[in-house]
Amino acid sequence: MPTPRQISVTVNGTVYESTVEPRLTLADFLRHELALPGTHVGCEHGVCGACTVLWNGRAVRSCIMLAVQTDGTEITTVEGLSKDGELNAIQQAFVEEHGLQCGFCTPGFLMTITEMLDRNPDPSDEEIYDYLGGQICRCTGYQSILAAVRNAIEKKKAAS
């Protein structure tokens, strides 16, 4: 048996001290060890984007990252987006624009859009396509997701 590793990770602002097997992926760590099932596991090889979380503010695939790699770093999952039960601007925009149907891919989209708007509150269409190109949705046909992004941009502008 490989030696388990002690890790300390901040997830959605809470520090977790855990002992994990080296082969445990970050996605499985979040879901099974921390009981945060909002991060969805789709393809498990970094292609579909459903498992996207923020790692020190950057959107990454948690299915192709090991929990041990995150020792001493900060993770934000979809559970960390709403405050006091209120949806944030991006989540609210998804509701208003019908940016989801089955919702399986949605956590990944939300995290990717979070990084994009943190980096640039007013991204060009090209930038939006580049970011969304890394997320797969099989329901919406993407147009309503694009509408949700534009809605979220307006909401954030109005709030600032």
């Binding site: 490989p2 080296p22 970094g46 299915c63």
Partner: protein, 292 residues
């Protein structure tokens, strides 16, 4: 779809990482950004006994200029290269290659050194390195050595690195002054591995004719392929649509039989490499304001 068990270590100094590789020669694998290795582990196509994570070695993460060359630490995230204003301004071909690497979400985690050391023949950075004549610095049990890009890539997923050697730095010369440059590829979807692609640059002499030309095609063999015959076909000629078309055809003479797979046949890959070369040269001319 879960990795087989392995031991994990994340040394903070490079020599310790080399020692671990040496002690476990053949059974240990270096983990950098994991964007290629982790899928292989998840699918159990790779089953190393030990993973050596280089992310805790701080001196492998930097982007800087040295005498005009771009010098990148092996563990620098691809996204860091992409977002560095100096890279975009002074090393535009490096920037252009970078934005063709997978998606932002992968570039946030994937490293420059990891991509070149993985040596996928469809990947962008190996082709870029060969085109610009990059040099690779590696540290192993016998110390440090420098490897030229054309010697570094041996065949599919295989480099000149020895089992206990670690790639530490890539040094990429700047384009010649006034060079017209291009990076073009065809992938089934943007962000996928390329079926095939081409990267090139050329300069014009005072007579308006091509003085230097460099053409590298990728996805059409075990390594990036320097298209020397096609380069020769450009020298001394004035840039024109007809020249670029004939150079695109000449590339086919430089390409041996590529692999056929579920994504594209060998013939299709060759054809794409030729067309990408032709279109890339036209792009390069347009961007540099050269009338053709």
């Amino acid at each position: 779809m879960k990795p087989a068990p392995f031991e994990y270590c994340a040394p903070e100094v490079l020599t310790e990482a080399v020692e671990v590789l040496e002690q476990n020669e053949g059974d240990a694998k270096v983990l950098s950004g994991g964007q290629s290795l982790m899928p292989l582990l998840n699918m159990r196509l790779a089953r190393p006994e030990v993973l050596v994570d280089l992310a805790r070695i701080p001196e492998l993460d930097y982007v800087r200029e040295d005498h005009g060359a771009l010098v990148i630490g092996a563990m620098t995230r691809q996204r860091t290269v992409e977002l560095d204003p100096m890279v975009r301004e002074k090393h535009p071909l490096v920037y252009e290659a970078t934005i063709n690497v997978a998606h932002p979400q992968n570039r946030n985690q994937g490293t420059f050194g990891g991509s070149v050391a993985h040596a996928d023949p469809s990947a962008e950075y190996p082709a870029l390195a060969v085109a610009l004549g990059a040099q690779f610095k590696a540290v192993g049990p016998d110390g440090e050595r420098t490897i030229d890009a054309e010697d570094f890539f041996v065949t599919y997923l295989t480099t000149d690195l020895e089992g206990a050697e670690i790639l530490t730095e890539v040094r990429i010369p700047a384009l010649p002054d006034g060079a017209a440059w291009a990076f073009t590829e065809v992938a089934r979807r943007h962000g996928d591995y390329a079926l095939a692609g081409a990267t090139s640059y050329f300069t014009l002499g005072a007579d308006g004719k091509c003085a230097t030309a460099r053409i590298v095609v990728f996805g059409v063999g075990g390594t990036p392929v320097r298209a020397s015959k096609a380069e020769q076909a450009m020298i001394g000629e004035a840039p024109s649509a007809a020249l670029f078309a004939s150079v695109g055809k000449a590339v086919l003479d430089d390409v041996e039989e590529p692999q056929s797979d579920v994504h594209a046949s060998a013939a299709q890959r060759r054809a794409i490499a030729g067309v990408m070369t032709e279109r890339g040269l036209a792009d390069a001319a347009r961007r540099a304001g050269i009338a053709i």
